[in-house]
Each structure stands twice: as C-alpha cells, then as structure tokens.
C-alpha cells in the first residue's frame, strides 16, 4: 500500500490523551497506520496539501440504520407510534436485497461527505449492507436486527440469520467490516433472545447493539408489564454486559444509569433523532459521565433525523444539554468532539485503534477546509475545537481518509460512483412507496 503524507496542515486536533491541538504539522501514513506527526521534512508516495485545512480524527457514528436513508423525508412531524405503524413498518416490509444495498450506498456516500469514517448499523438484508459498506471503504460495525416478538420459532429463524451473517462477514475478510449482534429492543425480544445475543456476542468478541429506553412510553409499558424499569429488567434477567452498546437511553433514572455503569454498558446518544421524534426525555449525559459510561454519538437513521451529519449531531448534543440544564458549561465543545471521536471509539471498544490522530493508530482522518466564510476567523489554538463543533458545516469537509485510503478529496467521492447511486436510490425509493 503506497504511503501518504498530509503535508503541513494548519491545525491538527489530535484528540490524544492531552487533547493537543498542533499548529502547522504534517501526518505520515504507512500501510494504513499513522506513523509520524510533526514538522520534519518528509516524503511519501502520495501527498495531500494541508494548507488552510484542519485535520481531525474521522467521526464515529455509533447508531444508525443506513438502508433507511431511502425513507429520508418520507414521513415527518408524526407521533412515534403512528409514524412506525402507518408509515415505516409497511414500507420496510417492501425492502429487498437491492433496496437495502442502494440505501446503504446512499447513506455511506452521505457519511463520507460529512466526515464520518466509522458507523454502527442495525438492519435487515445485512449481507447487502455489508457489501455496500465494504465497497464504500468506511469502517462498519454491522448487526442483523433480531426481533422475535416473544415467539420461539421466529427466534430460531432470527438466530440463524445472525449466524449466517456472521459467516458472511468472515468471507469479506475485511478488517474494517465487523460483525455485531443486534437484538432490537427489550420490548421486541424475548428474554431467551436477549440472553442468546449476549452469549453469542461474548463467544465471538462482538458488540451487542440494542435500543434501550428511547421513549417514555417504553418505560411506562415496562413498569406495567414487569413492575420494573427497562434497565432494571435487563439487569434482573442478566442481559447487561460490557459488550452491550445501548442506543438512546433517553429515559433513565440515576439508579438505572448506575446499573449500566456497574455492568460496563456503553451508550449511543442520538440527540437529533430523539428531539425530532419528541421522545421528550433528554439523555442524562452528565450522570452517565459520572458513572464512567463510555458514551458515543449517533445520528440514528435518515428517516428520523433526517441527515447522517455527525457535525450537526455534535452541535445539537451540546446545545440540548446546555438548554436542558440551564448551564452553558455542562457540556463544552471539547467534550462534544470527544463524544464523536475518542469516546465513540471507546463505546465500540476500539479506542486503541481509532478515535484520535496518534502514531500507531489506524489512519482515519478528515480534513476541514477552513477557507470558507463560516470558518473565519480562527482565534487560535484554544478555539479550534470550538470552531470544529459550533461553526463548522459538514460541507467544509474536504477530505475523508479511512485506514489510509482516500475516500473523498476536494469533496469528490473516490470510492463510489455517485452518478449511478443517486438516480438509482431515487428510483427505488419511489418504487417502494408506489408498489
């Protein structure tokens, strides 16, 4: 693999342990790994000019459903249950290998263009999603969504699908594509399914990706049905584990957060989707940090967000906590960027591989073009992080690099054929609605 030099970037937001921001330095990449950061004259097989640019770690989207990008804008401003039952579920029943594949390609393209380099997905037809993510060059953690609705026969079929998908991911032999187990939620999965998921994940060193406490209704229903809250239930049946990544966690008590902390569960916080669906509750991030939980950010799907833009999610995350707590200091720009980078990596258990720009880490790097009106002025080293969270737009992303491969440069996607994907995605979306 040819070596790559990012020459003399204006700023590097390393996101290393000390959260160093480095002025005017270069980054050398060999075999997909960052080998050197500094000012010595270097050469490499290929070069990218860093002038006028800010380098930062590629963003990590810890909760999404790529194929649902085909449903973007299809139904909005509705109550969650109406939205699911009248709009989304009927449409999902029409998904095919082809629609899931092109939906995932479309979503991957949007991610590359908005600076995301790693994603955690849950959906159906996952071999096609894996094919799409594989082609896109992104780093993906992929889970087949397990739903048994408390039916044993259905449970067995779903477990078979997961095993098949596990085998399929191995055939790809791409270290960037990783298998995860995806029990959908405690209200759609039997106790047996949840425990099977935990065991299968442990056996295979995989993450258990699950929706937890997205809405108040979910908590109310659990209280009625089980006489306890959602996380208390998961704890009681023994489903919690350090492999678990719980998406949303928007309606938790402090004692539920404590249970998650004890078990070592990680959280994928999705502020834009939560606000748009009007789940009402605001994820108690400060309390999660106190309990030592690893928290990452997610966009959720483009049908509930309606973008896959992690820069937007970072800013909204900070805004929401500040507004909700009446305190502008409760979640600052540095922490918002942490959530989208190194903390996201920790939530996925890969903080030794990605999440920061440091020698020895995989080269997942994005470059922001700071020569745009919305990025001027930059007041100095102390404000770069703030600029990256509050001022930047996804459109300022100039270059996206994963594992040393340049997936986009000068806003042109290298890994995917947009002239094919965009019209095909449009056509398939209309067909699904019309059929």
């Amino acid at each position: 693999m040819p070596s790559l030099l990012i020459r003399n970037a204006d700023w590097i937001a390393t996101q290393n342990e000390k959260r160093e921001v480095i002025r005017n330095a270069s980054i050398l990449i060999r075999d997909g790994v960052i080998t050197e950061i500094g000012n010595r004259v270097q050469s490499a097989d290929a070069e990218i000019d860093g002038k006028g640019k800010i380098a930062l770690p590629g963003l990590i989207n810890t909760h999404t459903h790529l194929s649902m990008t085909l449903f973007r804008g299809f139904a909005d401003d509705m109550l969650l249950q109406d939205w699911l039952q009248k709009k989304i579920w009927p449409l999902e029943a029409k998904h095919t290998d082809e629609t899931c594949y092109f939906g995932a390609l479309l979503g991957s393209a949007e991610m590359i263009m908005s600076g995301t380099t790693t994603l955690m997905d849950m959906y159906f037809h996952m071999d096609k999603v894996a094919k799409a993510v594989n082609e896109s060059g992104l780093r993906g953690f992929l889970s087949h969504g397990l739903i048994d609705f408390f039916d044993q026969a259905k449970a067995r079929l779903e477990q078979d699908s997961t095993r098949k998908f596990f085998d399929f991911v191995r055939t790809l032999a791409n270290p960037r594509i990783r298998f995860a187990v995806g029990p959908h939620a405690p209200y759609t999965c039997s106790e047996e399914m949840l425990l099977w998921a935990k065991e299968f994940a442990e056996k295979n060193g995989a993450i258990v990706h699950i929706h937890v406490a997205e809405t108040r209704r979910e908590q109310a229903d659990f209280q009625k049905q089980h006489g306890m809250r959602v996380v208390e239930y998961l704890d009681k049946i023994g489903a919690l584990s350090k492999n678990m990544l719980a998406a949303h966690c928007a309606w938790l008590t402090k004692s539920e957060i404590r249970l998650l902390g004890k078990a070592g569960v990680s959280v994928a916080h999705c502020p834009v989707s939560n606000m748009k669906i009007a789940t009402g509750g605001v994820a108690a991030l400060p309390e999660m940090f106190e309990e030592g939980l690893a928290v990452g950010l997610g966009t959720d799907s483009a049908s509930s967000n309606n973008t896959l833009d992690m820069f937007e999610t970072m800013k909204v995350c900070a805004l929401l906590q500040k507004a909700h707590r009446w305190d502008p200091t409760v979640l600052n720009a540095q922490k918002a960027l942490d959530l989208a980078t190194i903390d996201g990596a920790r939530a996925l258990g890969v903080q030794k591989e990605i999440g920061s720009i440091e020698a020895g880490k995989r080269a997942d790097i994005i470059l922001i073009d700071a020569r745009a009106p919305n990025m001027v002025p930059i007041h100095g080293k102390d404000t770069v992080i703030s600029d990256l969270v509050y001022s930047v737009s996804a459109a300022n992303v100039d270059t996206t690099i994963v594992d040393g491969h340049v997936l986009m440069q000068n806003r042109e996607i290298k890994s995917l054929n947009m002239d094919e994907i965009l019209p095909k995605a449009q056509e398939l979306a209309l067909q699904m609605v019309a059929s």
Copy 2:
C-alpha cells in the same frame, strides 16, 4: 436592468398563501420583480438552469449583529454574564470603523452562501455596516444600538448617532437598505430612551428593534427592581407598538404574550443562540401563534451561535419545540419554513414585498442543488418542504438572488471579493484580541 429566467426548476416551494409546491416550472424576473411562474416557453436576457434544483424564497434573518462575526469562536461554553463582561464587552470596546466594516462583510458573505437574503441588524459603527451590506447586495434592516444606562447625557449622544445614521441611510438611496431604531434592551435603556425610540420610529415608518426577555435573570431583576415583569413594564410605560420587533422573548408568561399580541409586537426567535447561551427558557411559540404574533427566526450573532446559518436555525427551531413539548406535531416543517420566509417578512412588515415566490414580489430567491447525497431521495410534492427543513445543508445552496441580482451562483459569490475579505477579517480579529 436585464431580465432573468430561472429555467425549469425541479421544484418551486412558493410559500404563497396556499403554500403551493410547483413541479418543473420556470420563474421570470424583470426589473428585480417576479413577473411569471409557469411552463410557457419564455426567454430573457440571462438564464439560470433550474434542473436538479429547488427554488424557494430567500431566507429572512430577523435578528443578528453582523460585525460580531469577527468574534466567532472567541469565547464559548461560558455563563452569559462572564461571557459578556470578561470577553465580549472588552473586545467590543476595541471596534473601529474598519473592524465593523470587515466583520459585516464577512457575515454578509456567510449569509449569501447559506441562503439568507434579508437581515435585521443592530450594532455600532452602523454606517460601516450599511456600507458593507450595501456592497454585498443583501437586503438589510439596520439599527444603531442605543444604550444610555439611564444617563441623560449619554441618551442625547446616542439619539444623535441614530439621527446621523438615519441621514446616512438616506444618502445610500438603496431601497434594499432600511433604517431601524435600535434601543438595546429595557435593562440598558431609560424609559425616556424607549419612548423616544418609539416616537422616532413612528415618525419615520421604521421598526423598533430591541432585545426582550432573553434570560431568566433579566426577568428576575425586573421583578426585583420594578415589581413587575419585562413586558408588563414595557406596556406600563407605553413603549409597546406595532412597530416593535422584540428579539428572543424566551422567558415570557402567557399574559406577557397577550400584551405583545394586543400591541401588535413582532418577535425574532433565536433558538440556537438561546440554547448555546443556556438561557434555559424556551420561547413559547405555540402561544405566540395563538395570540396572532408575527414571529420570525434569527441566528443572533456568530459569537453566540456560532454560525449565521438559517437552515440550521430552522431545523433546531423545530427540534427544540418538539422536544420541549413532548410533541412532534407542535411545529412542523411547513411552519419552520414559514418562520424563516413569509412570517419573517411579516415580522419586518414587508410581507407584500418579499417572503414568497409570487408574481409581483421582489425576486429574492435561492436555489438548492438537490443532486447531493443528503438531498436524495425526494419522495414528492408533499415532502419537499420537509426536505428543505430537516435534510438540507446550507452548503446545498447553489444560487442566491436578491432583487433580481445574482449574488452567488454555483457557490461562487459575485458581489464580494472573498480573496480580500477572508484574510483581512482573520487579521483584524487577531489584532483586536492581541491589542
């Protein structure tokens, strides 16, 4: 003035009375006025290809401080009073004609690139701001910020500045640049000043642009000092009027909203700035709508937002109301777009001139390039508005037209020299902080 044809736009979100969305149609502009919308073959002196694009009215930013764009990112994540006293006010004391001019040019450039065509400003060195906005081609309502701190001598000086600025605006002889009166806030202006502002505005057919009830502290202080709430005070002294545009209004009771409604006061709602500063209160938009108030959206300044991106503001506005009210239906995409277009025009009293794409209105039009991953798919006429609020990014704005003048095309600003403005703004910002 040469005529201009936008040929065959994919979609036109007219924002007319019926909120019609028109498929595949052209827009003819003569002498800065929209003269025809439809499908008949037409010709004009100049043409813009509308293929793959969505036309909508230019966005209206009803509250900002352009020159503060130089302070973007300078100080964030701070308590409001610390931020003002330790960071912003000392820096503002260093403003000169030159810094205010280049700050305003920088802000204008960002507005053009993010689809804003009309703005309402309040600041100092306003002749320089007016010069900048005049050069940019934007439509601007501009007010000199009046602050007397209850000192009569200061009040007289400030009134002189306003009269001088009023005369200066007349010398520009540009119908797009309009004078407004800018008493800063009830807590920085004496009763005499507020009443003078009202009278001067009435005499000259101008808007009274003022900050009202931005924070809880402001309400608490008023209660202590005057034994009543801010709007009750304004009502009691007779300062309310149909000319008044009250920015923020984030901490109002229902009875205060009723007082505003009775007096015909308009509101500039700034959700991103309010959330970032953590004012805590959420503007009670549904109650304002019930009372018939004209409500527009504002970004506030780039030092508290930190962008001037009205697309971001629209989305965050909808998200905040939904999350706060636990109801996804409380403010839908159509209403969010209304606030940023036709309702904003109403808040500025110019709904007969701008705010929609209709024959007879001034040609303030923007074109969105829908051939980007984040704008695919478009499900049809019923979802275009949703796409324009929840999916779009400011970077999708391809063309910005004000009064029939093309200020940007293919994302290239025509009216301003960016090669001069960006480095100069950067340089001046650093000088201000260092000096």
